[in-house]
């Protein structure tokens, strides 16, 4: 029975949290625990940012920030290859698929409420933590996901920011809703 009359940021954040924990544990054997909002990857870290969205009667975008070391580790675990044998494409693919599974789980929850929607294909961008153009790169990827060239004013502000400790790495998840 559809008992929700409105999908809120709170619902989506809760579904995202469950999905991150489930994907991390099932696919990578890594427990993921919610971390404090203030926790931050080292400013020297390279980041892989997986951007993905849901379109239709429910519209949202998600940007998942994987520090390079975490992305390498997840790729190594899932592909059963040592980190030295991985190339950039493989690591980006794993980050993209992680985001696809997480947002797929959220999309399933939304669809089960009889809201018509579809998922986009993920886009992964590389940037340096705290580099001046990092935010621009991420916003450009999100704009492609949204299917519009310019920034969407109502989505330009983050609706919610989550963080997870995944093994030794910190995964940040921004939700635009």
């Amino acid at each position: 029975m559809n008992y929700l009359t409105e999908i809120t940021v709170g619902h989506v954040s809760e579904w995202l949290t469950q999905a991150v924990q489930d994907v991390s544990e099932t696919m990578f054997g890594q427990a993921a625990h919610p971390a404090a909002q203030g926790d931050k990857a080292s400013s020297a870290d390279q980041l892989l940012v997986a951007c993905i969205g849901i379109r239709g009667d429910c519209r949202l975008e998600v940007a998942m920030y994987f520090p390079q070391a975490l992305a390498n580790r997840l790729a190594s675990l899932s592909l059963e290859m040592p980190v030295v044998d991985l190339d950039e494409k493989m690591v980006s693919d794993v980050a993209g698929e992680f985001s696809n599974m997480v947002v797929g789980a959220v999309k399933s929850r939304v669809s089960d409420l009889e809201v018509s929607c579809a998922m986009t294909v993920p886009r992964v961008v590389r940037c340096a933590q705290d580099a001046p153009d990092s935010a621009q790169k991420v916003q450009a990827a999100l704009a492609v996901i949204r299917g519009s060239a310019g920034p969407r004013t109502d989505a330009s502000a983050r609706a919610s920011q989550l963080a997870f400790q995944v093994g030794a790495g910190l995964l940040r998840v921004d939700l635009y809703f």
Binding site: D22, V23, T26, M27, A75, S78, L79, E80, K89, M90, D93, V94, G96, E97, N100, M101, V103, G104, A105, K107, S108, R109, V110, S111, D112, S116, M119, T120, V121
Partner: protein, 147 residues
């Protein structure tokens, strides 16, 4: 004779996990990175089972499934949806196109094996012929009364 499995997924990670899951079995796993390529590979390789993602570029999984079902040479191949989109809407659409099963991502390799065993016989590599599991039994149909 080796069984052939086709995995159609835009993620190399998923294709590699499917390949390594069936590695202990007498199977050949072939892959395709999108739906259009999946139809092409299915026509060329004639797999025994297809694992099909939904969210893919070029042709999505539902469009690919429809294409498979309308192509006589590959129309009868069992298809299992392996997808992050496991909601009723998507699965209902797939159901109309006669899918043999669904596995929701995230998934474990054992789920692939269990579901596949219900569709085709799987034999461990190097197992003697006598160790081969029996073929799946077709359900018995009622015998019609003859005049």
């Amino acid at each position: 004779m080796s069984k052939k499995i086709l995995t159609v997924d835009d993620s190399k990670m998923v294709r590699m996990i499917v390949t390594s899951t069936f590695q202990p079995y007498d199977c050949v796993v072939v892959g395709a990175a999108d739906g259009a390529e999946g139809v092409e590979v299915a026509l060329k390789e004639r797999p025994d089972v297809i694992f099909l993602d939904i969210t893919m570029p070029v042709l999505n999984g539902i469009e690919t499934l429809a294409k498979i079902r309308e192509t006589p040479e590959i129309a009868e191949i069992p298809v299992v949806m392996l997808t992050a989109e496991s909601d009723g809407q998507r699965l209902g659409m797939a159901d109309q196109l006669k899918v043999s099963g669904y596995i929701a991502k995230p998934f474990k390799g054992e789920q692939l094996i269990e579901l596949t065993k219900g569709i085709i016989p799987l034999v461990l590599k190097g197992a003697p012929p006598s160790a081969a599991p029996p073929k799946p039994q077709l359900p018995k149909l009622p015998v019609p009364n003859r005049p």
